[in-house]
Point group: C2
Amino acid sequence: MYSFKEKYSEYLSLFEKRLDEFFARLKCKPQVLDDSLKYTLESGGKRIRAVLTLAVADMLGVKTEDVADLALAIELIHAYSLIHDDLPEMDNDDFRRGRPSNHKVFGVGNALLAGDGLLNTAYAVLFEKCKEDKLYVDAAAFICGCAGVHGMIAGQSADLMCAEKGIKDEEMLDFIVSNKTGKLISAAAASPAVIAGGKYFLELRQFGEDLGKLFQLTDDVLDEEGSLATLGKSAGKDRSENKLTYVTFYGIDQCRVYADIICSKCLGILEGIEGETAFLGDLVNHVRYREG
Amino acid sequence: MYSFKEKYSEYLSLFEKRLDEFFARLKCKPQVLDDSLKYTLESGGKRIRAVLTLAVADMLGVKTEDVADLALAIELIHAYSLIHDDLPEMDNDDFRRGRPSNHKVFGVGNALLAGDGLLNTAYAVLFEKCKEDKLYVDAAAFICGCAGVHGMIAGQSADLMCAEKGIKDEEMLDFIVSNKTGKLISAAAASPAVIAGGKYFLELRQFGEDLGKLFQLTDDVLDEEGSLATLGKSAGKDRSENKLTYVTFYGIDQCRVYADIICSKCLGILEGIEGETAFLGDLVNHVRYREG
């Protein structure tokens, strides 16, 4: 009997196990580098990117072990981006996943290096797999592109620029969300398709970008409405900092309508895919109706 | 008639041409990301890593075009490390290569992203080459290891820790120099050997680490004695910040003796290599006796 919650926990456990094994082997000197590198990833989180990668692989009939390192690399990249994004000169967030941010525990210098280290380690993981499997080269190049200066980093740069200059522009908002959030989720959704020889790659890339947008929409609404207890980070922070978000641009009611539209779009893409799409469909609805 | 200076300029021009072509194609949005990403690399510098890679390839009979992207990736990684290292919470350097540091021009947030972007771009370059050439996977994995949490980043972390805690320890000094400076120079020296099928890989890796140590020794002496005009950065800064360096640990005279020993060691390694080693020998002496 299929249960979304149980299946999610199953994927999550698979990932946590892989991460624990990896971290157990990855001993860094000095100790502060080891501690700061592992701190942010060990504080849990939803691991939605990793779960997405494992679930898409299942759907496409790709073995979990053949995509486990894609999921690992993507979560390492995500963690690096959180650490650097939380730094005082960026989003200046003191809390992350209900715990003090990396730089609040280890200081800005060490947090900076922890982020650099996680990014570099993500690619070290991928290069190692590339030695065994030629398809990994294409998957890794795709992930690297999504994380890079025409992807996530471009989105972060635009986000910073808009915050500094007080820019409120719809096109810019789309650029930020599509790149900062959408690209890495799209890497998580579509990189298993590369390992599957390209099957449904374009559909899954689009699915990932849309799911990223949906995630950001609900995130912005939660930021406006949520509390520190459910979010694990400070609520209402975006508004107080006059940030360009879906909520500050469209308002909450319009965001809900927009979220429904994107939600339908995601489900529509899944309808065009042959295979067991139930979990991914439930994941879309989970992102749409989540409370934290 | 062979001339070291001319040959160096030749390698330098080859690299500059490759970099210019690459940057012309690499257009990033927003503009500030594009500008900050390119600023530090466009301010010139000795490009000793790139020159080393091209020269070793020549010595091993590997075509320049087959290692040009190794040199490019390594210089991108080097530039990222300079940008992050110059940040206020790290080495806090306001000048680099005679110009204001990246964060002095673009602000800390943008400099942080420029560094992230350069690191990510280095690996994007390598993954693209990996698609064409299986040997590039091994070379790229090696470079990534040298730059990573058991290489350059470990050295930077130890450097930061010693500065914060006022640690003065010979073993720690060796760890810092070997990792922070040595590993990436060793990547530059030995990665062409991977492309050559592993020929002299171990010798060249050792050569690179020793050359890195020599470079750091002379750098520390120059920092103590030099001026802003010849160094392009603030002189005597290490001492004033009570940093752990060869000079602050051994004193200048002992550093010169140590430099001579390492210099001989480098030349000794070259003697064991069949091929035209004249340029590399001159490069060692150039590093030993440079004035800036």
